[in-house]
Symmetry: C2
Subunit: 147 residues, 2 copies
């Protein structure tokens, strides 16, 4: 049933996410000239190894056209490698270069990371573990109705 409380949750969730992403973008300029999506793509490649532009776009919720541009940019910076498939030459597997991988590692341990500072300073230990748990339903929302 549609409780009043659920309706309020929906409105608040939308507002909070909308505002939070602006905060993230604003504080994302940690030396490197990467957008939030580009940064997310790098981490995805770091974790998963080799992926197709296709698959990257689906995971990041952008079009393949946008992904193409992002990959061009990352290639210019020397952060990724393209390997075209032997059995299907239309496909080009994307993976991080050594340089790209080291950038991911470096950025991860960067101490002047706004989100890290915000989480550890503004939140209690209980709240931090709450955030951790909340990632599960949040990611369900990200993947909802993607068939």
């Amino acid at each position: 049933m549609a409780t009043q409380s659920d309706i309020k949750l929906v409105a608040e969730m939308r507002t909070t996410i909308t505002r939070l992403v602006k905060k993230l973008r604003k504080h994302s300029v940690t030396g490197m000239a990467l957008s939030l999506t580009e940064r997310s793509v790098m981490e995805l490649l770091y974790n998963e190894g080799e992926l197709l532009p296709n698959e990257l776009a689906a995971k990041e919720k952008i079009t393949t056209q946008s992904m193409s541009q992002i990959l061009n940019h990352l290639a210019e910076l020397g952060y990724i490698k393209r390997r075209s498939s032997k059995d299907d030459k239309r496909k080009s597997f994307i993976s991080l270069s050594a340089k790209g991988a080291s950038v991911v590692e470096q950025v991860r341990h960067e101490k002047d990371n706004w989100l890290y500072e915000a989480i550890t300073n503004a939140c209690t230990q209980e709240e931090i573990s709450l955030l951790k748990k909340a990632l599960v339903p949040l990611n369900k929302l990200v993947d909802y109705e993607d068939e």
Copy 2:
């Protein structure tokens, strides 16, 4: 202390929020031609009554210049009223028009609301209450270091 788990949380949180906001934007076209931020501004005005462009911008984490554009758009649509202050003529108090208020109410109860569908269909009852609780620390992040 900086646990490995916290570092992972930070990376995942950034990625999840980045992806989720794209999902929200994509499914936001519910008849009305309002951006996520414009929608958020409307709800803010609905809840708080009268605010200055100044204050609205701070809450939404955008510049006053951006807010100015948003207010122009909302005024064109007839959703807001401007009342210039008696004691300080530079200030213009912003509030919802009757039309604007009814739009907020209407949108709230709209049934083809993607986020509502996603939350109620993809999440269990426990997860929904988890999301509700997680709003507190999430909003702490939104307001962190705003002096």
